[in-house]
């Protein structure tokens, strides 16, 4: 029995393919000596590959048939016809144009099945829409398609279980003769093809349109055959001395085929070649002939030979690295000059990079350390020879290895960039709380050193675009780190001419601003610059940069990683503003981040579980790639706490001032939610989490109890959780204390001014432990802004309330009047309508007077309302001012 037929099960065919692979694996190594086996396989694989494809599809169709999945079946069937079309030349070649039985069988089966399903009316009704649609189109397609195979089908149906020994036989034969006489085979094959063409063309008169198809098929098949001939002819040349290049080319082709096949097998994952013993030196093939004169050209040729195998599935990547090392040793032994040395080193680095097959996975630590050794070495070579030029623009033909100035094709910049990316990936791979992470993080010094080296080289080359890129790399390593010397310098403990990271950033960024012509680099540089300023408490510089760059208007058009950087920058800007007691700015910086509730995602510090729809694998992969490594994270609790505290400092006095205002707006929704949810709780325990602390503090502040508020915000728990995370925690705490006192005073005045005729400022300053001038200034500000209707009485040092503000009851009454006015308005309109009808009907004039009167009244009411509104508007303007 042929294996295509009887083996309906998955396992066998798969095992067969695997077998084949195992069989082939040894050929993957650089066996430059024996070629015979390989040639055999090329021919065999075309047939096998096609057949396997077909059988796989057939299997799929059978499976679909079992579960009656029409739509999948339709697509599988389409694939099958396509695959068959592809396989036609092979079939023509191998089986003299006779349609293989297994193919006929599946067609017959399908036909029966479809008819059966079509007949089953009830079943069809119960089918879902998609399936029944597919069934219809499937039936039509199958009918049309089957016409071509009518003869075969009838014969098949006559003897459905006929065996197919002939096929198996044929297979044997073909595998035999393919390795026996590769040259001869071309001629009979052509004949066969012709023979295959004849009967089909002359088959039936009414199949003229189909014969067209056949014709075109034969075209493609012939072209493919030509290729086959070519390979065969080439096989003939294989024994000739100049085989090497041909050999690699052929290999390349074959490998491409393999790749294709793998993909068709739907094998997603990449195969790791696990073979221990191959790399043993004794087995290693010889680099050069023993007595060969080793010179630059030879080495270069060898190198390109090795590199040609790069990036292919079957290449043993580890061996490639070793080969390159060997080559390097040889070249050093023969002293072929720095250029060739560097070239080989570059190749080694590239090979190490290639070792990890997946882009999303991090490389193995041992290779990483190797990389960290290799790159500095290579850079040293480069820096030691200042007249060496390494660039991407240099074509391979123009490379110069033997004399100065050396010209080498390659790009150190991309090497460094790749290195940096790998570094980030490695970090993300580690558990951030383990020692491993710390160990890995220590490598950053090396990475930055390499970047510095490349920087000196590129600066030497003087190409602005590349300088910008390397500068940005450097900036991105620098921007999130706090430099202690900056603060010391500011306090005068360090001499004024010490170079701090701020200065370095300034220099690098300014260069990028001036020279960069891709917008992205500049944007990133600005963001990093702002971040760095904000980190070092240079609030005004940071703010000015943000305002000048106008980034906030365009940032939504940029790529995600830049947007993440923007979010990070805004977060730090908010923190910086908070440290500088610019509460409003801090709040407005953070509000966009905090409002969504997706801070984690916005800062790329972790994936949020999604409720509505699962993200697909690729999406998750992409999102994971965007994540920040742990040491660059911004503490979220700190962010949230700063946001909530600043919201509290703004919102609570505002709430107190506008208690009765129906048009009051919320300043911060998130804060409101927190407050509301705590109010809804029937039992309130002592605060536990940071949020509860802030909410409790807000409640205390509402009553003007600054001390309670302060102790809720700043205590041991909160210090440990939040405030100690600031670099100058004590400064922040004193600032917070002062702000809380001031805002509590304001809140107190708003809330309780209606029960006072006058308050002594001395008393207030005692109550809030504020200096009298501060109290004075706060109250004066409130009076000026018309928030507090009062005046200051200087001799008695007291605030005299004017009591012009309506009391609570009065303001509610005013609101009620507004509402009643509205009601009267709408009632009036209803009445108008009635009256209109009345006029039409009766035409009496009596009602008119009344009506006008009422209108007048109405207008008065409205005027009154307008006055009130005007006053409020004015208030608001003043406040804004």
């Amino acid at each position: 029995m042929s294996r295509f037929f009887a083996t309906g099960t998955d396992s066998e065919s798969e095992s067969s393919s695997e077998e084949e692979q195992v069989q082939r694996q040894p050929a993957a190594a650089f066996t430059f000596s024996d070629d015979e086996e390989e040639t055999k396989r090329v021919v065999r694989s075309t047939k096998e590959k096609r057949y396997e494809e077909l059988t796989n599809l057939i299997k799929q169709i059978r499976n679909h048939k079992k579960i009656k999945d029409m739509s999948s079946m339709l697509s599988s069937f389409e694939d099958l016809t396509r695959a068959y079309q592809k396989a036609l030349p092979v079939i023509a070649k191998e089986e003299s144009g006779v349609t293989p039985r297994f193919y006929v069988r599946i067609l017959a089966e399908l036909d029966d099945f479809i008819n059966e399903v079509w007949e089953d009316k009830d079943g069809r009704k119960n089918m879902n829409k998609n399936n029944s649609k597919s069934l219809g189109s499937m039936r039509q397609k199958l009918r049309k398609y089957i016409k071509d195979f009518e003869k075969e089908l009838t014969t098949f149906r006559e003897a459905p279980d006929g065996d197919d020994e002939d096929e198996a036989e044929e297979e044997d034969v073909d595998s035999d003769d393919s390795d026996a006489k590769p040259v001869k085979k071309t001629v009979p094959k052509l004949e066969q093809e012709k023979a295959a063409k004849k009967p089909t063309a002359g088959d039936d008169g009414d199949e003229s349109d189909d014969s067209m198809d056949w014709g075109s098929d034969s075209d493609t098949s012939s072209s493919e055959d030509e290729e086959d001939i070519y390979t065969n002819i080439r096989d003939r040349f294989l024994k000739k001395p100049e085989k090497e290049e041909e050999e690699t080319k052929r290999e390349k082709k074959e490998r491409r085929d393999r790749v294709k096949k793998r993909e068709e097998e739907d094998d997603g994952g990449v195969w790791e070649t696990v073979r221990g013993g191959v790399a043993i030196p004794s087995e290693k093939p010889k680099m050069f002939a023993k007595d060969a004169e080793i010179d630059v050209n030879l080495v270069v040729r060898k190198l390109s030979e090795i590199m040609a195998a790069r990036g292919k599935k079957r290449t043993d990547r580890r061996e490639q690295i070793e080969l390159l090392h060997e080559l390097q040793n040889i070249s050093e032994l023969h002293n072929l000059g720095p250029a060739i040395n560097f070239k080989i080193r570059l190749a080694i680095i590239a090979a190490i990079f290639d070792y990890t097959p997946k882009v999303s996975d991090a490389m193995k630590p041992e290779y990483w350390t190797k990389l960290l050794d290799r790159i500095p070495d290579a850079m040293d070579v480069l820096l030691a020879n200042p007249d060496m030029q390494v660039a991407e623009e240099i074509l391979e033909e123009h490379e110069q290895f033997d004399q100065e100035p050396y010209q080498i094709r390659g790009c150190v910049l991309t090497v460094v960039e790749r290195l940096d990316e790998e570094f980030v990936k490695l970090l993300k791979e580690c558990d951030p709380h383990s020692n491993e992470y710390v160990q890995r993080l220590k490598d950053e010094i090396k990475v930055t050193q390499i970047i510095d080296k490349v920087q000196t080289y590129i600066e030497h080359q003087n190409k602005p675009a590349e300088i910008c890129r390397i500068y940005l790399r450097k900036i991105e390593h620098l921007y999130y780190k706090l430099d202690g010397t900056v603060l010391e310098k500011r306090e005068g403990r360090m001499p004024a001419d010490t170079v701090t990271s701020v200065d370095v950033m300034e220099r690098l960024c300014k260069y990028v601003y001036a020279k960069d012509n891709t917008d992205r680099l500049r944007t990133r540089a600005i963001l990093c610059h702002i971040y760095h300023h904000a980190l070092h408490d240079n609030w005004f510089e940071a703010r000015d940069l943000v305002l000048m760059s106008h980034l906030q208007e365009t940032i939504q058009h940029s790529d995600p990683s830049t947007q993440i950087l923007y979010n990070r920058t805004m977060a730090h800007l908010g923190l910086c503003a908070f440290r500088h007691a610019n509460i409003k700015d801090s709040h407005s910086c953070l509000v966009d981040l905090m409002m969504t509730g997706k801070v984690k995602e916005l800062l790329a510090q972790g994936l949020l579980p999604q409720r509505q729809h699962e993200r697909s694998k690729e999406q998750e992969k992409i999102e994971k790639q965007r994540q920040m490594p742990f040491h660059m994270h911004i503490n979220q609790e700190l962010l949230e706490c700063v946001y909530l505290v600043s919201a509290m400092l703004i919102e609570i006095p505002y709430m107190a001032a506008h208690e009765f205002d129906a048009r009051r707006r919320m300043i911060s929704k998130t804060f409101y939610q927190q407050l509301r949810s705590s109010e809804r709780q029937s039992l309130l325990g002592p605060p536990e989490s940071m949020r509860e602390h802030v909410v409790a503090a807000s409640k205390a502040m509402r009553n003007g109890n600054w001390n309670a508020c302060f102790t809720f915000i700043i205590n041991d728990k909160m210090n440990a959780k939040v405030w100690d995370l600031f670099s100058q925690a004590d400064k922040v705490r004193t600032m917070l204390k002062r702000l809380i006192q001031e805002e509590s005073l304001r809140t107190y005045l708003f809330t309780y001014s209606n029960v006072y005729d006058s308050i002594s400022m001395e008393k207030l300053s005692q109550m809030f432990e504020l200096d009298k001038p501060v109290v004075h200034s706060v109250i004066s500000k409130m009076i000026i802004n018309e928030e507090l209707m009062a005046s200051l009485d200087d001799p008695t040092q007291s605030v005299v309330m004017h009591r012009s503000e309506p009391s609570r009851l009065q303001s509610i009454a005013l609101q009620l009047v507004d509402k009643v006015n509205n009601l009267v308005d709408s009632n009036e309109r209803i009445f108008e309508m009635k009256q209109g009808n009345f006029f039409v009907r009766g035409g009496g004039g009596g009602g008119q007077g009344n009506f006008r009167e009422r209108q007048n009244y109405n207008r008065q009411g409205q005027d009154w309302g307008r006055q009130r509104r005007d006053r409020e508007n004015r208030d608001r303007e003043n406040r804004a001012y």
Binding site: L809, L823, S826
Partner: protein
């Protein structure tokens, strides 16, 4: 000895019409206390209302309420509810209590008792037990020291309106039902046994005199604020309804204009056809072309209006009381000051 309950004093007691089966509700101390207890325990939270059944007798147009029992909290199963009531009445009968179901009571805050469910259940009560009343007990007001207990019945118009279930503006106009004529208030009289009266008299002697001054507590603003807030809500609601109705009116008007235009066009065409000796166009059902718009139900605005009315009357009543209290306190204060100054002079 009988005493009138405070609620009636300042209220808008209307004359009870002759055709009403009862004209006064007489309640004894026991059901009253039971009811108050239940309402305060269950219905003081603003969300739930406490409800219960009243038991008693009708004697010559006087409804005597002699006992009551609370309903369990609503759990949406009508059958269970009924079974509970019947069982309860049977058991009370065994202990020689009047077992005739004569109405029900409900706790309320100020004016919010006027609602659709109340209307509905009172309608069903009056349908099955003709003389039944609903007693509304105001927890909030009583908590401030004013016992407030009112008995209501649906007016005959309201019963008719509810029976026909057409709450269109026209139907309401024809029935002459307004928010003020949905319910009719029946005066409530409290009657205790002589024994308990004696006890009360004795107790009142034991109460120290100064505690009586507690009645002078003003507490104006908080109460008024609460009322105002509620009133604002209702007014808003009413406004929404008015706007809805207004929109409806406009639609009707537009439709009518369209209809008129269409008719005129039709008439012109027919005239032209007649001139040419052609048969006139067939008459199509004009209602098919212009479907009558669904008229908005007016029951809800009526109820809301009733609530607003209740609130405003409460506010008015409260204010007049407060005013009186103010005068009283003023004179008291003056008297105190006078005596104080007299003392200091000495």
């Amino acid at each position: 000895m009988s005493s009138k309950v405070s609620g009636i004093r300042g209220g808008r007691s209307r004359v009870v019409p002759d055709d009403c089966p009862i004209n006064v509700v007489q309640i004894s101390g026991l059901p009253m206390m039971k009811m108050i207890k239940h309402c305060h325990e269950e219905g003081s939270g603003s969300v739930d209302v406490a409800q219960g059944a009243l038991l008693g007798l009708v004697v010559e147009k006087r409804l005597e309420i002699t006992n009551c029992f609370p309903f369990p909290k609503q759990d949406d199963s009508v059958d269970e509810d009924e079974a509970y009531q019947i069982a309860m009445m049977k058991k009370l009968r065994r202990v020689n209590v009047d077992h005739l179901h004569v109405g029900w009571y409900q706790s309320a805050d100020v004016g919010n008792f006027i609602s659709l469910p109340l209307l509905e259940s009172q309608y069903h009560y009056q349908n099955s037990i003709e003389e039944s009343v609903v007693l509304i007990y105001d927890t909030q007001k009583t908590a401030r020291g004013f016992l407030s207990l009112k008995a209501y019945r649906l007016t005959p118009q309201a019963v008719v309106m509810y029976k026909e279930e057409g709450f269109t503006p026209d139907a309401l106009r024809n029935l002459k039902v307004g928010y003020e004529s949905l319910f009719i208030e029946v005066p409530v009289v409290m009657k205790n046994s002589s024994l308990s009266n004696i006890l009360l008299n004795q107790l009142s002697d034991m109460v120290p005199e100064e505690d009586g001054l507690g009645f002078l507590d003003l507490g104006t603003s908080s109460v008024l604020e609460g009322h105002m807030r509620c009133m604002m809500e209702r007014v808003d609601e009413l406004n929404q309804e008015a706007i809805k109705f207004n929109r409806y009116q406009q639609q009707v008007l537009r439709q009518q204009q369209d209809k008129y235009r269409y008719m005129q066009k039709r008439a012109q065409e027919n005239a032209a056809r007649q001139a040419k000796d052609e048969p006139p166009l067939p008459d199509e059902d004009i209602n098919k072309l212009f479907r009558p718009l669904p008229t908005p139900q007016r029951l809800n605005p009526m109820i809301v209006a009733g609530q607003v009315n209740a609130y405003s009357s409460h506010v008015a009543q409260f204010c007049s009381q407060a005013m009186a209290k103010l005068f009283v306190t003023q004179t008291l204060q003056k008297a105190k000051e006078d005596t104080g100054s007299a003392k200091s002079l000495q």
